[in-house]
Symmetry: D2
Subunit: 372 residues, 4 copies
């Protein structure tokens, strides 16, 4: 693991998610740029000091020479520190799991794609919200034509945690780097959560956004990067859409929602109660849930426990890890992964996210529609 | 009543709403352009044939000369037939309740405003969704500063009833005229339901939309007017917003929803369960309901029954009538209506709606931001 | 109207409900035992003083001799004052609408039944919760065998308004008489709301409670009548059930809920969001709503407006009045009412309610199962 | 691990739960009474064959002599096979996690309690529903007096999975033993899920059931043990209550719900959306969620991720393991566990559950109130 030391949010999430199914064991980490802090963080996790490193360069060097060295590197650092360790990890023969957005810029993403292709190694991007079983089922239903040709897509990601310029306190590690262009890149909310929304919409519908018109705002006092973004979407099949995301939607927690309207019906999903998927038509309103009734095989594959026992965020995140780990493991054993194993976000999703960021920023600056 | 014969939707709604509180009695009607049909419709309503007219001109003429003639005219015809009867009603000394949008064009609306002012008579526009007690309470909370300065407004109005080009059957009276530019005007969904959304947002927040960027589509085969519209909003205080409405959102019924995010919290309301208003902040989530706890006087004024006994659409519609009827009655008796009585949509709301339609259509055609 | 003067709750509800459909006009009332108060109450309702009476005896006497005298008497007084005016109204040739529970004792109820039969007049009991369209639809589905043979019924009626011994203040008219055995009869919560729950369960399922075991408590300080009651039920088809009601369930508003489990599925309904009826089976969860899809004719008959426009408590109450008024009107005109017209609670429902009260009280006193 | 071979439900749950926090590693198992099957099951879990045993006796013998032998035994067999392995595990020096109900009979439970006390070892019972953070918070609020003295408790556990006599197919391993008195004991639904409900109610309120009256039914054709049970409760502080559970509530999934009404307000919780706890009073309705606002320390201690990222059943189950593992670890290291570590169900909860089963069965047989 690169990053994820004490006090970091997403590192712990990755560790829980990786542990859940017993397929992955945390064996080493460069949790912090200070060797002492790295060792302390590792100690919390019951790792011996000799496998807690002060730099990822050292970790890659040492681990690739161990008999029991790691197979997969998880990169959970801020955005500006994704590319370099990912590149080096691949070049040293490790498979990579990387947090999103994939890199700091589109150029880096495209270079990384080349490296992935050249090394032939495996790369997963943790657009974790696509790991929910009801999201898998929604994709399945759309693919089966159950709601007909898609006409409208509404995807939202509302948060309120940056309502009060938390970055000013200096104590909120995450608020600091998320609002800092040097670490986050050119986009704020759009990069952090807008890319999740974009990825979710494209993943579920199988469509691509072809054009967008965005209005970006930085409401937080003294804030440079957008903390609120509203946009109109046009899709490559003629469908229309709306995407809006915010970090200043005071009172919202992690309000990622998706609605897809087709000619014959619609699907409705909310991340905060992810066990429900509602299918509406003019005459009916049906609720699907994991393990209930005749669900798709892909939804069942991504579910662990019987109906009525809710699985949540960590389980969805773990599905990304589980599918990726199975793909890695089969690949290392010379087996062929099946379509369910291969169902995790890849470098192409990362490229798409960076293109989205570029288009949104340009549209916001010019107050015009921009193709992507 | 002008319009509202057998088979019409909104005429019956007006009658139920007017009857509910026992303040208004239906005494006569020009329900249809055929005298026979008008009499038949009146008979269903227990009116004697001599007060069922074939034209509104005849009705105005006869009723103004009766001792027990009507005081208030309700106009519930399609949009292109609002202006003429409203004008004549006012000129003959009747107060007017008119369905929305107020007229066929902005020019008509402005002329009507002049007539209202010249005659000194009272005019109500049935933007009925502002009649819900929880909407009144939301407006009150915002006005009291409970959510701080407003940053973001999201208002939606999703319907699916035009998913299948119902107008082609020829049997759906409402579908026919709603999709016919000669009867509806230049806007389809935007005129019918978009104006409700616009009115609701401006009413509750006390802000005005200053600029918008719209994307309009007619998905229905052969349809000329928009049946789906998405737009970005900018408000006169710097707030941003999203408004989207649709008549092809298959599976939606009457999905008018409003969310207002301020610096200190947010308010959330859905027309389909109108008895709840949720107030969220970063640390709390409180649900308000009619008659529960320390509600605002204005919410209590617009509520009839104790908590837990849900009031709905007709009661909200009736609140428009009740407040208007009280204002008319007090005015006729030389009393001064209070602020609660005067709380009903007026000709100015109608003008605003027509300006909105014009701006949306222009933005959609030019693919640019348009000021309003 | 007998009762329902200023400050009374249920009288106003009856008036709104009766007015909604324009089938019934309030023409006179004995709103209070003081002629002055009765006239004042009538004045609020735009009735002339000569039709506001100080006693119901006087009202019946005068009204039966008027050309334009009333046809239907609505009795909305406390329980101990139901029997006498109902009896006299029938004996003077008026049809009767009476609030529930029908009388003070089972004996009175049985006598009233005889009078109804002897006079051949019509009698409606306002078990208003059976007026909801989704309740009609639930009854229809069960009758059609959609959930199979019934195995379990759970019906609850939770309120919290008597949590604080409101009767002690002396200012809460309703709290006063509800907690007073001289006015309410032998049961408190059981009589007021338990009978609604009992009636709803038997109406929807078509079954009868054959045996019950009850535990009653008066939690309010100094209170004599039960304010909380829990009971086990056995039905005449072998089904089992639970009924519990409370007036001290602090935080509850008007929490009447019904769940019916059959061999093949179950139905779920909550009065506070009455527009939804959920039908679950092991593999499916479907939500029915008024006017949506292929609803039963009886549900449509009891619905006024299109889907997505919620109707509530007053509309359900009004359905009792509408069906009863149509039955009265057809009967007076020599027409035959149809099954939808005749679908209102009758004297037999009142008898059943009084039998229920007697059984519950006996079971509570003896701590045993009691047959009914 | 004892039990939990291929195809078993609860074994896999225990493994996920134990793995989630990285505090416990699965090192060995007697997954099946056949050594071959045990090895095959272990192979699925990446265990080497030499640590997969055909009997728990062999496992205890071998493991206690290994340097790296296990510390904690998890017993996940059917009820009739809890006592013997638990007893032997304790006598061989292992700490024990045992599934519920704790034993086959009250006598076994009492003997086990003695052994726990004599050995001084630690024992956890997986009444996992008490692991939810919002349940912890409810207990905290009640303890702090936030809803005042408790008056009424309603706890339900509705399932529908035995609606169709699944045990007849012979293929549903769980249905087979759950309906078999030789494996489950004298109670069916009451033993399996009724004890969860009883434990939850007593845990959250801090009260004890003092008396109950039960009505038990076996609806499934040919079924001997109860699959539905309704009961009235009286608590040791004078509060009243209702507990009902079912396995034939067709359409229900895992419907464990709890409502606690106090003099000053009430708390409402549903296992299927466990992230919400609603606190109602006459004037307010507030929703609590993990990590939102000023939550109790104990709720925060049992939460892993920030607000809006739902945790579910496995996380709650894992909290039992986490707290127990921490207690074991601290005890083994000579440290003193704190109150949060010690917050897991113990042998006393098991005794209480067996007393409950005995009282319910007796009450059902005699149709009377029974003290417990």
């Amino acid at each position: 693991m690169v990053g994820g030391g004490r006090g970091a949010f997403i590192g712990a999430v990755h560790r829980h998610a990786a542990a859940l199914d017993g397929l992955i064991e945390l064996v080493c980490g460069a949790f912090s740029s200070s060797p002492e802090k790295s060792i302390a963080s590792g100690d919390d996790l019951m790792l011996s000091p000799d496998r807690c490193y002060g730099t990822y360069e050292e970790m890659f060097e040492k681990e690739k020479n161990r008999e029991d060295g790691m197979d997969i590197v998880a990169i959970v650092t801020p955005n500006h520190m994704h590319f370099a360790p990912a590149k080096m990890a691949l070049e040293n023969g490790f498979h990579v799991v990387c947090d999103k957005p994939v890199t700091f810029s589109l150029e880096e993403a495209e270079e990384l794609k080349k490296i992935v292709e050249e090394t032939g190694l495996l790369f997963a991007l943790t657009h974790n919200y696509t790991g929910y079983p009801m999201i898998k089922h929604a994709k399945y239903l759309i693919n089966e034509g159950k709601i007909g040709k898609i006409r409208k897509v509404v995807v939202e990601y509302q948060q309120g945690w940056l309502s009060y310029s938390e970055e000013k306190s200096g104590e909120n590690k995450q608020a600091n780097w998320r609002t800092d262009p040097a670490k986050s890149g050119k986009a704020g909310a759009v990069g952090d959560i807008g890319t999740h929304a974009e990825n979710l919409a494209e993943y579920v519908t199988g469509l691509q956004i072809s054009e967008l018109c965005a209005d970006l705002t930085a409401f937080g006092e003294g804030r440079v990067l957008d903390d609120d973004a509203n946009m109109l979407l046009r899709f490559n099949n003629g469908a229309k859409g709306v995407l809006h995301c915010s970090q200043i939607a005071n009172g919202e927690q992690n309000g990622l929602t998706l609605r897809v309207y087709g000619e014959e019906g619609s699907l409705h999903w909310k991340q905060e109660v992810p066990q429900y998927l509602t299918h509406k038509t003019i005459g009916t309103q049906q609720i699907y849930q994991p393990s209930v009734g005749e669900l798709s095989d892909v939804a069942n594959h991504n579910t662990r426990i019987p109906f009525g026992h809710p699985e949540g965020y960590l389980e969805a995140f773990a599905n990304i890890y589980k599918n990726f780990a199975t793909t890695v493991s089969k690949t290392m054993n010379g087996e062929t992964p099946n379509e369910f194993d291969l169902d995790y976000p890849k470098i192409e999703d990362g490229i798409r996210g960076m293109e989205f960021i570029d288009a949104v920023i340009k549209s916001g600056e010019d107050s015009t529609w921009v193709k992507m």
